[in-house]
């Protein structure tokens, strides 16, 4: 545990000296909070009919997900905002991917990996330390952004009923369970890509393909292909948990000391 902690602190000390990393870690949550809050603010007086027809969204889709007792315009707000839940999910992917890319590629380019591997640290401790260093800021930023969003919407919406609809179980499962699971997946994926690439920007960009499923979810829902309700989200969480377990298992098999030393070039 002490060694994991040492790696964690060292990673943060190194990686947060990088402008690109600071930019992604700070800017992304701000952007992802500002967009839904902006929408909430700008649509607070519009009527359901006009906005819905403007965006070409079928009002049947929106009707299904609104609790009883919400007006048409409130319901439209709920719909719009829940679309952006998917955008929130970009945070726990993009931040860990960026940190992991810069951390692994940085370690390779400074050639500091071999002295590190010569210490009595286990490869598991090393990998866990590096992964946590990337996952923790991603998860914290997600929680932070969600906190700000929740607080902002509480101030912005007049009908507090709307709030309970916004901050329902789907959101909470997505933010607090799917988010960290996504972060772990992103980081292991980035670890694998970074071990093969020598430019952190390339590693970052390649690893970002892991965002694709998130975007598919986002646009799929907007296009009305499916509705992400509580059940679907729970299934997604379960599948992700299994995927994560497999990925982590694979990583510990693939990243043996000798492999790290001779293949990470």
């Amino acid at each position: 545990m002490k060694k994991i902690n040492t790696i964690l602190r060292k990673e943060w000390a190194e990686v947060f000296k990088n402008r690109m990393v600071i930019f992604v870690v700070a800017f992304l949550p701000i952007l992802m909070t500002a967009i839904p809050l902006g929408i909430l603010f700008s649509t607070r007086d519009t009527t359901s009919a006009s906005s819905a027809s403007m965006s070409g969204i079928n009002s049947e889709t929106t009707q299904g997900m609104c609790p009883e007792g919400l007006s048409g315009s409130d319901c439209f707000q709920v719909f719009m905002i829940s679309e952006f839940m998917m955008m929130f999910m970009i945070i726990p992917v993009a931040i860990p991917v960026t940190i992991a890319a810069y951390s692994i590629v940085g370690e390779k380019s400074t050639r500091s990996l071999e002295p590190l591997l010569a210490t009595p640290i286990t490869t598991a401790e090393l990998l866990v330390g590096k992964c946590l260093a990337a996952v923790i800021p991603g998860v914290l930023a997600t929680y932070g952004a969600f906190g700000i969003f929740a607080f902002g919407s509480w101030i912005l919406v007049a009908n507090k009923m709307l709030l309970t609809a916004l901050l329902d179980a789907r959101w909470l499962i997505a933010i607090f369970i799917v988010g960290p699971l996504l972060a772990v997946m992103a980081v292991v994926f980035s670890l694998m890509v970074s071990s093969r690439v020598n430019d952190p920007r390339v590693a970052e960009q390649v690893s970002m393909v892991i965002i694709l499923p998130v975007l598919v979810g986002f646009f799929g829902q907007i296009a009305g292909l499916f509705v992400l309700n509580k059940v679907v989200i729970s299934w997604v969480a379960l599948v992700m948990l299994l995927l994560d377990a497999v990925l982590v298992f694979l990583a510990t098999k693939v990243f043996q000391r000798e492999q790290i030393l001779t293949r990470w070039k």
């Binding site: 040492t6 000390a13 009595p120 000798e258």
Partner: protein, 302 residues
């Protein structure tokens, strides 16, 4: 302290280390000499349990390779061939990280001790990236010693340094030797090996020869004595050649180069014979072969 038996490492097509059998005693400084690509770094990596051998076995500091790898890593110190630092972090923090990873009890004191010993204490808060090559190398050596390892592997510690920095590091290695540590020194600086090492192994994929620097000179070339005479003629050469203990005689200008097993006991006899044959002996001296000659001879032959 280090014992290996038929240690072998093969990378796909390349045979990097072939059947290395070696015994290095406690407190010994062992010079591991060989050209680029000889397999020196691979050997160090095997002995520090960074890469596994393809076959063969080894015991380092009492621990069997492959069974007690973590104990080996805990007990040995290694200066790797390209010892990278965390360039954005201070020298002190760089060392503190490794003190933690090596489970050093009194980390801060050890860090301070080695920063002072290697003359880096005044710059301890500076980022390692701002250091000169020589300073970085010293910092890397400090990093390898924080846990007071009994066995130290140094992979080309003075390669690429200016003469002054190299000299400083050699002096420091001599200090470590005085402290009784076992040192495995990879180098292709022959002068360095000659001055620091108790024994030298000349290595090129396999071990060509292991001996003390002095013995290496004689075993490869024999010992040569040079006699400066006023004049040299065929009669004198013949007289010397007739002596049973003389292996070889060569006349160069007014000098006789004589190869002998044991100059201390045979020189007086040769002087007597030469004087008896009418020669004027001006100087007698031993012709020392540099270790470089020995090395080049061995490596070329391999």
């Amino acid at each position: 302290m280090i014992h290996t038996e038929s240690l072998t490492k093969r990378f796909k097509e390349t045979l990097a280390v072939d059947g290395l059998s070696l015994d290095i005693h406690e407190g010994e400084v062992f010079g591991f000499l060989g050209p680029n690509g000889a397999g020196k770094t691979t050997t160090v990596r095997m002995l520090t349990s960074l890469v596994g051998p393809t076959s063969g076995s080894a015991n380092v500091a009492g621990f069997t390779l492959g069974q007690r790898d973590t104990d080996i890593r805990r007990t040995v110190g290694v200066l790797t061939e390209t010892p990278g630092m965390y360039d954005n972090l201070s020298a002190e923090y760089n060392l503190q990280i490794f003190a933690n990873l090596y489970e050093v009890k009194n980390g801060p004191e050890q860090v301070e001790k080695y920063l002072k010993m290697l003359d880096l204490y005044d710059r301890r808060f500076d980022a390692a990236g701002t250091f000169s090559k020589g300073m970085k190398q010293k910092l890397a050596i400090a990093r390898a010693l924080l846990h007071e390892p009994k066995v130290i592997f140094l992979d080309e510690p003075t390669a690429g340094l200016d003469p002054e920095a190299a000299h400083l590091i050699r002096d420091f290695i001599a200090e470590l030797k005085k402290e009784g540590r076992t040192i495995f020194l990879c180098t292709h600086n022959l002068d360095e090996a000659d001055r620091l090492c108790d024994r030298i192994g000349v290595f090129k994929t396999r071990m060509l020869v292991v001996d003390t620097p002095a013995n290496l000179r004689t075993s490869v070339f024999g010992r040569k004595v040079v006699f400066h005479l006023r004049t040299v003629d065929e009669k004198l050469v013949g007289a010397v050649r007739a002596m049973p203990f003389v292996r070889e005689v060569k006349a160069v200008d007014n000098k006789l180069l004589i190869t002998l097993e044991d100059p201390e006991s045979h020189n007086p006899e040769i002087v007597r014979v030469l004087v008896g044959a009418g020669a004027d002996v001006q100087f007698v001296g031993e012709l020392r072969h540099s270790l470089e000659d020995v090395y080049l001879q061995l490596v070329k032959a391999a």
